[in-house]
């Protein structure tokens, strides 16, 4: 099948790189304290998976990411909708939000630790703050750029406000909202990595920092790879959602 051959193509380079890496490590050309061989990393992963430590930490990290995304994304989505539909609300809240946006959310870490200590609230707060803006901005933009001719058509055909919103405005804004979501997912993991690395007593970032203290380079690399995998997984879910809801879009028609 054409489709399968195409998706296999994407794996050629990564698999090649891993093979080269393994070969160089086995030949002793890369010091194990610098970068352990892929086989060593897999072994470390196996060890941690058996002890259950790996699953606990992945679970905790994923939970923090999800809760932060739901809270920050939910508020961003709601505010984006409100401000997209109401000029009054936009005038009232948007300037303040734009002001807050100029603060890099990771710069808040010391303050957040002062406020919440190093417990869950601190990390969830940071993630929520990080994902808020991409979702807010793209929802607002999506609603503002809905085809005015379609809205006029809806009005001319007697649509109620609710029908106009649910059948014209929201579907029209959806592609832009998805752009915001996928952007937010990237920020979500980034924020979590930083927050967990700096201050945590559980989670993937903590696992990596803990391993560093014991010079377990393989676990450090393992943590990094798992972060990458989780990021990829989240993106794939978003892509799948996009495909499912935007099946009308000419870009997805042939799939």
């Amino acid at each position: 099948m054409r489709f399968d051959a195409k998706s296999l193509l994407a794996f050629v380079i990564p698999v090649g790189l891993i093979l080269v890496w393994q070969a160089l490590a086995s030949a002793g050309m890369i010091a194990t304290e610098v970068l352990p061989a892929p086989s060593a990393i897999v072994a470390a992963g196996w060890r941690l998976a058996l002890s259950g430590e790996l699953w606990t930490n992945i679970g905790i990290s994923a939970w923090r990411a999800a809760v932060g995304l739901v809270i920050g994304g939910g508020i961003g989505f709601a505010l984006g909708l409100t401000n997209g539909l109401s000029r009054l609300s936009e005038r009232l809240t948007d300037p303040t939000l734009q002001m807050i946006r100029t603060i890099p959310h990771l710069a808040m870490i010391p303050l957040v630790i002062l406020w919440f200590g190093i417990d869950e609230t601190a990390k969830i707060f940071l993630v929520a703050l990080g994902v808020f803006f991409p979702i807010y901005l793209n929802t607002l933009h999506g609603i503002r750029t809905v085809d005015a001719q379609l809205v006029e058509m809806g009005r001319a055909y007697g649509m109620s406000s609710w029908a106009l919103f649910s059948r014209v405005v929201l579907p029209g804004a959806l592609p832009s909202i998805f752009v915001g979501l996928r952007y937010a997912l990237g920020i979500m993991w980034l924020t979590l990595i930083v927050a967990e690395t700096i201050s945590a007593s559980s989670g993937l970032g903590y696992m990596a920092m803990n391993a560093r203290e014991f010079m377990l380079v393989d676990v450090v690399v393992l943590s990094i790879l798992i972060y990458a995998l989780l990021g990829k997984l989240a993106d794939s879910i978003a892509k799948w959602l996009e495909r499912a809801t935007l099946s009308w879009h000419p870009a997805y028609l042939h799939v």
Binding site: E152, Y157, G158, R167, V168, P171, L174, H249
Partner: protein, 297 residues
């Protein structure tokens, strides 16, 4: 030929009830049994300004129920504005517009672009033309009927993006017709189509109009198209009706016949005569009535 109704400077000032502020559309008008009922239109002293620019100037127009009226005129003379006022998309600056008994949902408009919702299947796009309160099965059946009418029943389940331009415009026609409107307003709906598709669409519109006998108001820049379809052609100039011609020819009309040619010549002569300054350059005052009378004499 009937002379244009002479519009005086006196303006009717009684309140206009905008079509989109009234009570919700009554689904009763959807029943095919009531087909054939067109709505009469009465426009009295209609003026419309955008800012300081006056587009329509005390315009009077009476359209009997079931008539097929074509509106022609230079670009920017206010054809679309008049049409949009008829379906309640624009509010008159002054004057009165009455369509049927003044109820909402009497008229449907078809735009130059199909304006289909890309995220709804063809059949659901047609259902946009029906009242939201209708049960899904019933509205689907009516939508399929309307699609059959325009010859697209087999495309009901597709996305609009896979249709050709002419097919999209046919779906838009089905959407406009599905509620059995008493007035169909057409704003250059065929302007973007190729010549052959245009002629096909013209026959299609003529056919459904003959079947359903709604009042049809077609805005077009194509005088030949106006003469092929309409019972009556009015020419708008300087914000008023400058020419009002009855086209009393049997249907289906033969393109390029002598009678049509003669009428076409008259309208084009008028359009190109010295009286027809480009409306876009027109300053915001009303022309002298004398000049106006001379124009169609």
């Amino acid at each position: 030929m009937t002379a244009a109704t002479l519009s005086g400077r006196a303006r009717a000032t009684f309140a206009f009830a905008p079509a989109d502020r009234g009570p919700p559309a009554k689904p009763a008008s959807k029943s095919p049994a009531k087909a054939g009922a067109g709505a009469p239109i009465s426009v009295r002293g209609l003026s419309k300004s955008f800012g300081t620019k006056e587009v329509l100037t005390a315009l009077d127009l009476t359209v009997p129920a079931g008539q097929f009226l074509a509106i022609v005129g230079r670009s920017g003379c206010g054809k679309s504005t008049l049409l949009r006022t008829l379906v309640g998309l624009e509010q008159p600056t002054s004057g009165a517009v009455m369509v049927g008994d003044g109820q909402r949902g009497v008229g449907r408009i078809m735009f130059q672009e199909p304006r289909l919702l890309p995220w709804q299947r063809v059949v659901d796009n047609v259902r946009v033309g029906l009242s939201e309160g209708l049960p899904k099965a019933a509205s689907k059946a009516q939508a399929l009927d309307a699609l059959g009418e325009v010859g697209l029943a087999d495309r009901a389940g597709e996305w609009p993006s896979v249709l050709s331009g002419g097919q999209k415009q046919r779906v838009a026609l089905a959407r406009a017709l599905v509620s059995r409107p008493k007035l169909l307003a057409l704003d250059e709906p065929l302007g973007a189509l190729d010549a052959l598709t245009r002629i096909e669409m013209q026959s299609l519109i003529e056919r459904v109009w003959l079947e359903q006998r709604f009042t049809a108001v077609l805005v077009t820049h194509d005088v030949a198209e106006a003469l092929a379809l309409a019972d009556r052609v009015v020419l708008i100039e300087d914000g008023r009706i400058a020419l009002d011609i009855d086209v009393d020819l049997p249907r289906p009309r033969r393109r390029g016949s002598a009678e049509i040619g003669a009428l076409e010549g008259r309208i084009l002569d008028h359009l190109f005569s010295s009286g027809g300054r480009p409306s876009d350059d027109r300053p915001g005052f009303e022309p002298e009535p004398v000049e106006y009378e001379k124009a169609y004499a």
